[in-house]
């Protein structure tokens, strides 16, 4: 499908009602929606609950479970493990709960405590063995899953000087990105020698970064680009490719060797990631979320109730990529929009 051909439309298929307070976030279960398994969605809300929605045979969505009586404050963010069997929910009550899905029923199997105040985001890495959380206490925590649904805190990452809004793992590498109220984006990785997690790069105003709170980050499916969005009314696209210099014939053997070769490159050089372009002039209120679809469409959700879709334009006359607005859906919601994986919900 050539997105740049024009005549695109965004149509609302269904409105899912049930929550009694604003919906802050949603997440698609990655193990569903394929191979005949009905698609499953989790939504979390200011009403302190998480709702699970499933698409029935007729195509319409119904609420199949309500996860309640656990969090004592707003549930801000939720994330499925790559296997789709576990759901992590992060709450303003300073805890992160881990739920296990067994035949449609959900049971809380672990509660991660440690943050001093509101937890704002949670993210599983590609392997499903690491979990990252972040919050208003300015820290990012990395947890490792042990047998028996036990979670151990592996590292508490300090460096942000303000509220950390979101964390997101690279689609296949053990590299973590965090974005913050301190206007910066930080990249974290494990030091090969000492197994210590530390900040390998900070993208701030000096690196052509944002000039106000950064709300969200999203990688493209290749992991060689990431998009960030901010209260400064811009989206920024970053080059996160591991630039391999001419290989000298080494590392082309096993996949594992290749992987660690690229991982070393990704992490060793301090200034690996760089600003590619800034999408500005399209938003006049805070951009709360950004999502990069598998097809390469970048969707933004903003405080003006609109959803905008962008796509890279094939303008060969410039070296730097540029992005074109594909469509703007006004009044997509009655109130501010936050997106998740190409679906959106309003407050």
């Amino acid at each position: 499908m050539d997105f740049l051909e024009g005549n695109l439309e965004l149509r609302e298929r269904q409105r899912l009602e049930g929550h009694t307070d604003r919906v802050w976030s949603l997440a698609w279960n990655p193990a569903t929606g394929v191979c005949g398994i009905p698609a499953m969605l989790a939504s979390c809300s200011g009403d302190k609950t998480v709702r699970i929605w499933q698409q029935g045979p007729s195509g319409s969505w119904d609420c199949s479970a309500v996860l309640e009586d656990n969090h004592t404050r707003t549930v801000r963010s939720c994330a499925w493990s790559p296997s789709g069997k576990l759901l992590a929910t992060a709450s303003f009550d300073a805890t992160t709960a881990i739920w296990e899905c067994v035949g449609g029923d959900f049971e809380c199997v672990a509660t991660l405590e440690g943050h001093e105040n509101e937890v704002k985001s949670v993210s599983w890495d590609a392997s499903g063995s690491l979990l990252a959380t972040c919050g208003r206490d300015k820290t990012v925590w990395i947890w490792e899953m042990q047998p028996g649904n036990e979670f151990e805190c592996v590292s508490v990452l300090q460096g942000h000087t303000q509220d950390v809004k979101m964390v997101q793992w690279h689609p296949f590498m053990e590299v973590l990105v965090s974005v913050s109220y301190d206007n910066s984006v930080k990249i974290w990785a494990e030091d090969g020698d000492s197994d210590d997690w530390h900040c390998v790069q900070t993208l701030n105003e000096a690196s052509s970064g944002h000039t106000s709170t950064v709300w969200a980050v999203s990688f493209n499916s290749n992991g060689d680009r990431m998009a960030t969005c901010s209260d400064d009314l811009t989206l920024k696209i970053w080059d996160t490719s591991a630039k391999a210099s001419e290989t000298s014939g080494s590392s082309c053997g096993s996949w594992v060797t290749q992987y660690s070769f690229y991982l070393d490159l990704f992490c060793d050089a301090r200034d690996k990631r760089r600003h590619l372009c800034t999408i500005s002039g399209y938003h006049d209120r805070t951009i709360f979320s950004v999502n990069w679809s598998r097809d390469g469409v970048i969707a933004s959700g903003a405080a003006d109730d609109a959803i905008r879709l962008f796509f890279e334009s094939k303008d060969n006359s410039v070296d730097v990529p540029s992005y074109k607005l594909l469509l703007k859906k006004e009044k997509a919601h009655d109130m501010d929009v936050k997106l998740s994986a190409m679906e959106s919900k309003g407050t």
Binding site: R136, K165, T213, R285
Partner: protein, 158 residues
């Protein structure tokens, strides 16, 4: 140790006489009247200052002119002037304004609350917090803060 009030002797101004709106001669019963500056000011003028038994209008923290509204674009901006430059109650006052407008205006409205430029020592920091939706939502889940805000708003429901 006795903690003193931030501003023990605020200047109290006279309340502006409330204009009685004259009934329009040509009434279209189904037309929604556009929300104007005075209507929004009426919502916020009686909010009580967190520290003193005076309203924000009496302390000139807000005035009719401090309200900018564009009903067609569903937008309102309130610029408030704390009574003292180092007023630590500035965030609470800002929150009170936000909550009152949230409860009084149609949900289509976008609200910006700002400190009048040059009137506060940490203006940028306070403005950033007041206009961060997530921070505001989390703050209002704090029962003590919510109680304080509700107390300040109580006179406005008279």
């Amino acid at each position: 140790m006795v903690t003193g009030l931030i501003n023990a002797n605020p200047i109290v101004y006279e309340r502006k006489e409330r204009r009685v709106r004259s009934a329009p001669t040509d009434i279209d019963e189904y037309a929604e009247e556009p929300i104007d500056q005075l209507e929004i000011f009426d919502h916020i003028r009686d909010i009580k200052d967190p520290e003193h038994p005076y309203s924000l209008e009496e302390l000139k923290v807000v005035t009719e002119d401090s309200v900018e509204v564009n009903d067609r674009h569903s937008y309102v901006r309130v610029t408030f002037t704390p009574t003292v430059e180092h007023c630590s109650m500035a965030t609470v006052i800002g929150l009170c304004l936000r909550v009152k407008l949230l409860r009084s205006l149609p949900s289509r409205y976008k609200v910006d609350v700002r400190i009048a430029p040059g009137t506060h020592a940490t203006e940028a920091a306070v403005n950033k917090q007041l206009n961060d939706k997530e921070r505001v939502a989390a703050a209002l889940e704090n029962p003590n803060l919510l109680e304080m805000v509700n107390e300040c708003l109580a006179p406005t429901f008279a």
